[in-house]
Structure formats: C-alpha cells, structure tokens
C-alpha cells in the first residue's frame, strides 16, 4: 500500500546513501537480477503495485513482466513452481504476502522446498528465496500480525534470515539469492520505513551502493555493552536499542545482539556476549513457547550455565493469538516498556 510516496532515493549518488529498509531490499534484488538472468521474482501484487509492503517497487518497470510476475492467489501452486524452477537451475524469489499465509502452502515449503536436497542425498539443489512480511503493531488482527520465524526455523532444511537494518536488508538479500539452499527472508512491516505506518527512525540507514554479501549465520553486535545482553531480531532490535540508549543515562550498559539469522544460529556470538555480561534477556516478537527465546537460552545452558549470574528473562508474545484492539495488542507485543522492565529485572 503506497498511500504517500516515500522520499525518493536519488539515482546512485556517491556512497553511502540513507535508504529505507524497503528500498535497500529492492536494491539487493535488482542488483542480482541485473547480474544473473536466472533470477526472477513472483508473488501477489509484486508487479504494478510494487509489493503491498514496497518489497518490489520499480522492479516491473526495470525488468519487465517475464521476470517480475504477479501470480494468482494460488500459493501452493506458485510456491511449488518456485521449487520446480529452482530444481531446473533458476533462482526464483517468491513472495508470500504475509508469513501468516503459510498455512495454505506449507506442504510445498517444508515437505518439498526444504527436503528435496536432503532426500536426494545432496544431488538436487533448491536455491529459492522465499520473502515474506511479518509482524504486528498496527492492529491487523490475529491472521495478519504474526512473526512465525520460529516455525520455519524449527523445520529442517531452510535457512532463515531476518534483517533489521537497511544495510543488512540489502546484503542478506544478495547472500540469500546466491545461496544454493532455500532461504526464508522475513521483513518486518514496521521496519520497512513505509510512509503509511508508524515509523522508527532506525528503518532509515546507510547503505553502500555497491553489491555486497552480509554473511548468513553471523549475528551483529548492534550496540556493545557490559551489563546485560539483549538477544533479539527484527523490529525488536530497534526497540532494544532505544531502551539501551535510555538506560545508559541510568548507568546500565546494555549490549544488543541482532541475530540476523535464526538458521544457522550464531551460537558462539550469544555465548561470547553472555560470558562478558552474565545477564541475558531474549526479546522475540514470535510466540513465547517452543521458539527462538527458548533456543537462545538453551544455547547458553548447554554450553555453560554458570555464565549466567542471574536467571535469564524472555520478552515474547504470550501464547495467545495477536488481539486486534490496540490496547490488547500492545499488551502482548514486546514493547520498549516490556524490554525495559526485563532489563531492570535482570539488573536486580
């Protein structure tokens, strides 16, 4: 939905430029489409509309309808089509408009796209990138607000990347396209820098104009700190950084670790940070139980539970569907208020 046009990025002025995450993502896709004719993009409303969340703005005009294709609302068919095309050597990028919709096509994703490489004993490659919008915070209700990355990450055979900055949005996209495995690329609607959604200033950032890869499976220290490690991903990185800035004035020095990728998970980075701070808060906009937050804690517990000087705390969506009414939704999301309270709790 493009109610108001975002401030247009001028055609390649000297690097780095400040771009929204949406524009950076498109730049990554365009760079690879330019370089590799086997790359194409398909999904619902990705052509003339430019993606409901501006994930493909300008691509149709630049690459034409052969390579930027609007699909019918037939997710099973086009998800499977992506797998088949990839098996035959193409590099499809396929958009599932909202991650919430995986229900109508999950078999093609987790039983086919994700398993063919394994079942074939490594003889068949499936280099698909599946892009999808995640996240809530704008009252879109229980079927349009979920993150669900823990579900993709739980099922073997797919890499899962989740950028939180414009620079990573571009670099992870390029890496994902070049990767020979299925890569699930999840972008948070609230982090895209869309003109029609509440903005976070961190959705705008410096992006190098040349092509580069952001390594998949490497976390980034978004902010170094001594006292507490906040491990998180996606839009919650922005909130954790805001909270860290605030608490710095109270003398609490928060380290924010942006996982960037859940599969593979950078377990070393988690353990390394906790070994310095001794305190762990995990912030996850996905459901609380059986997910990312538990995996991060298990990582520390398995390596060396004595690294923790105090019981870890997680801030996640309690195990209920996302409510519609604003006050209810804000009560279940990992808001800055809840993150702040969790940090204070581990500080004692």
């Amino acid at each position: 939905m493009t109610v108001v046009e975002e401030p247009a990025a001028k055609a390649s002025p000297p690097p780095p430029r400040r771009l929204t995450m949406a524009k950076a993502m498109v730049e990554g896709i365009a760079a690879e489409m330019e370089r590799d004719p086997s790359v194409f993009y398909m999904g619902e409303d990705v052509g003339a509309y430019g993606g409901i969340f501006s994930s493909t703005t300008g691509l149709l005009e630049r690459f034409g309808p052969e390579r930027v294709r609007d699909t019918p609302i037939s997710e099973t068919a086009f998800m499977g089509l992506a797998t088949g095309a990839a098996v035959e050597g193409m590099r499809p990028i396929v958009e599932l408009m909202f991650a919430d919709f995986f229900g109508v096509c999950m078999d093609q994703i987790y039983n086919h796209m994700a398993k063919i490489h394994f079942e074939s004993g490594g003889n068949v490659k499936v280099p698909v990138v599946l892009t999808s919008a995640v996240g809530g915070g704008y009252s879109d209700g229980a079927q349009h607000s979920q993150c669900l990355w823990g579900t993709f990450a739980h099922l073997p055979g797919m890499k899962v990347v989740i950028p939180s900055t414009p620079a990573d949005a571009k670099g992870l996209m390029i890496s994902a396209i070049r990767d020979d495995n299925p890569v699930i690329y999840l972008f948070h609607k609230g982090a895209m820098g869309l003109a029609w959604m509440a903005k976070t200033r961190r959705a705008l950032g410096d992006v190098p104009s040349e092509s580069y890869e952001t390594p998949i499976g490497k976390a980034a220290v978004a902010r170094p700190g001594r006292d507490v490690t906040v491990v998180t991903v996606s839009l919650s990185v922005h909130y954790a950084l805001d909270v860290a800035d605030e608490l710095a004035s109270e003398g609490i020095d928060v380290e924010v670790l942006d996982l960037r990728s859940l599969v593979p998970l950078d377990r070393d980075a988690i353990v390394e940070s906790v070994s310095r701070t001794g305190r762990l808060v995990v912030v996850d906009e996905d459901y609380r139980s059986f997910g990312m937050s538990a995996e991060v804690m298990a990582t520390v517990a398995e390596r060396d539970p004595s690294l923790l000087t105090v019981a870890p705390v997680r801030v996640a969506v309690p195990d209920v569907p996302i409510p519609y009414a604003r006050a209810l939704e804000q009560a279940v999301l990992p808001t800055p208020e809840r993150i702040r309270a969790a940090v204070r709790q581990v500080m004692g």
Partner: protein, 354 residues
C-alpha cells in the same frame, strides 16, 4: 434486465444429474414491489454503513496516514458497490442458516442480520464487540445467526461445508452460504470445497463476488477461465453467472440455489459480476486500475433507485424515508460502539481457551 449467462456444461450422466435443470436461472415475471423495496432498503443500509465506517476510519489518521492510528486501526476492506450480492442472497436465509464471508464482510454480515451494534463495536475494537475487541473487522463471528468470516483468502469456504454437514446430520433443512471473491476462486480450498460439497451433496450455496480485482491483479490476469461459473460444471453442480451487478437477478438465482440446497439436492454456485467501488483497502491509491473513471457511473444503487422510481414502486418520499432509517440505524450502532469501553489490557491473554 440483466444479461445472465448460463454456463452449465453438464454432459456427464452423473447420478446427481438433476443439477443441469436446477441451475437454470429463473427469469419469471417482475418481483413483488415489497421485495424490490426491501432489496433497495438493504443496499442503502449497507452503503450508509460503509460510508460511515470509511469516515470514522479516516477521521483521525492525519496528518499523513498511519494505518495503526485512530479509533479504527488496521486494514479496512469496505464493500461499497457489492451491495447487490448481499442484498440479493440473504433474503432467502434464516437466522438458522450459516454464512461464511471473506476479509470484506460487512455487507454480508448486515444482510444476514448480524447484530449491527456489536459488529460496529468489534470494528472499533471495544469490549462490547462481537469478539470483545479480539477479532476486528475481518474476524466477525455471530453465532446467533451462524455468521463467520476469515482474512485468509478462500479459507472461509471449507468451514461452511462443515456447518452444512452438521445441519443435515441434525435433520434440519438449514443451508450454508460460502462466499469468496473471484481471486479466491484460484485457491486450492475453493476447488477442494466444490468437489467435497458436491460429492457429499451438502446443502451449500457457493457465492463468488467477481469485482474484477484481487487487490491489484485483474481477473483476466489471474484466472484461466472467463467465467468462474464454468468451474461448477467441473464438480457436477449447477453454476450461473449474473452480469451487471443486478440485485434482482442475484435474488432469483439465490432463491433457486437455496431451495435446491434445502430440498437436499446438493450445492450450487453463483458468480456475481459486481463492482469494487473503492480501493481494495482504505488507503489503496488504485493507480493500477484503468477503469477508475467509469466506476462512479456503475454504482448499482442510483441505477436501482431510478428503476424503482420509474416503475412507480418507490417515490421521492419513500427514497427519503429509507435513507433516514438507514442513517438512524447506523448512527445508533456507532453510538453503541463509542460508548463501549476499551478492553482491559490485563485481559489480553483471555479467550485463548475455553
């Protein structure tokens, strides 16, 4: 009179073969004046409602447009232009009949008799809403009239089969109406549902609202057949397509289909060529839409009003009265919604389980 294309390509001698006759839309004489006035009245009520929601939705999203702001946050899919579908189908239904709608549900909810005040409170996210503010405008559930809807395209269809199954199991003659947009007719759930309903002869009426657009993708650009009623024949059930957004033609076709379902003869499909008067959702710039210039003149309400006035069925005073009644009903519903409290955040995890 509307053009009605008959697309019942039944050539098999399938055992359920009475479908070819039953699917033929009746053309008959004119409808009773009172029926026609009721059709008009319902269309006006729906339009009045959608206009009011639109106004409330945008009232406090400025400056700029922040989708999550204001007293009605989130996505908003309004059904202006599609009134003939709801107004034409629902007079044949009883509160004991089920209706499953889509992400664009208001017109069908209103015409099927969903509690207008509680529905409005739900749209405003209030405790007094149908779902106590948990659901929102795409998730309206009113068990009193067996109404539900889903925000996942075509996924509202399968549950309608189950409701029909339960009705028959209990020995009632209730029916279930399952609605999708034309975009949804390309989903697996649609094709699976047609087959299963036909195979088990379930009392279901499938209704496709062909407003020509699935967000920015036109029917032509997404659909292999010119006419979705052809897809009924593939599943051995009658299918008709109503052209021109004609409320009376919808009324007649729905009467036939509902009677057939009630009588135990199984499902039918009706596709209505209707009109999306506004954007896919509020805020949609519709820059992809080449037919924008002619949308207003295809509005089904002024033309039906003219028809009824010219036929002497309605006079200016009647038109006036219907408009006022609608305005009053909508005003009362909005007042109820605004007077209802916001849900208490400490109850945010309620209702996940019984």
């Amino acid at each position: 009179m509307a053009a009605i294309s008959q697309s019942d390509h039944s050539q098999s001698d399938h055992s359920q073969s009475d479908y070819s006759e039953a699917g033929r839309p009746e053309t008959g004489g004119p409808l009773d004046a009172s029926v026609r006035v009721d059709l008009y009245r319902m269309m006006v009520l729906i339009r009045t409602y959608e206009e009011r929601i639109r106004q409330e939705y945008h009232a406090d999203k400025t400056p700029g447009f922040d989708i999550g702001a204001g007293k009605i946050p989130g996505e908003m899919h309004l059904a202006a232009g599609q009134e003939p579908v709801a107004a034409g189908v629902c007079p044949h239904l009883r509160p004991s009949d089920a209706l499953t709608a889509t992400h664009r549900p208001h017109h069908l909810a209103i015409a099927h008799g969903v509690d207008l005040a509680k529905m409005t409170a739900e749209i405003f996210g209030r405790q007094g809403g149908l779902g106590h503010g948990r659901g929102g405008h795409m998730h309206l559930f009113d068990p009193a009239v067996h109404f539900s809807c889903s925000g996942i395209v075509a996924e509202g269809l399968p549950p309608a089969l189950g409701q029909a199954f339960a009705f028959r199991h209990r020995g009632t003659d209730s029916v279930a109406v399952a609605v999708t947009g034309e975009g949804g007719a390309n989903q697996g759930a649609f094709h699976e549902s047609l087959n299963l309903a036909s195979l088990w002869r379930l009392p279901v009426v499938f209704v496709i609202e062909d407003n020509e657009w699935g967000i920015s993708v036109s029917r032509r650009a997404s659909t292999s057949v010119e006419d979705n009623s052809l897809r009924a024949a593939a599943n051995a059930m009658p299918g008709v397509r109503i052209e021109d957004n004609d409320v009376e033609a919808v009324y007649r076709a729905a009467r036939t289909a509902v009677e057939r379902a009630r009588a135990g003869h199984g499902p039918s499909l009706i596709e209505v060529h209707t009109l999306r008067l506004w954007g896919h959702f509020e805020g949609d710039p519709q820059t992809y839409r080449p037919d924008l210039a002619t949308v207003e003149e295809r509005d089904p309400i002024p033309s039906y009003r003219r028809l009824l006035v010219e036929a002497g069925v309605l006079d200016e005073a009647g038109v006036e009265r219907i408009a006022e009644e609608a305005a009053t009903k909508v005003e009362r519903a909005v007042e109820f919604a605004l007077a209802s409290p916001e849900p208490d955040p400490s109850t945010a995890t309620a209702y996940a389980f019984e």
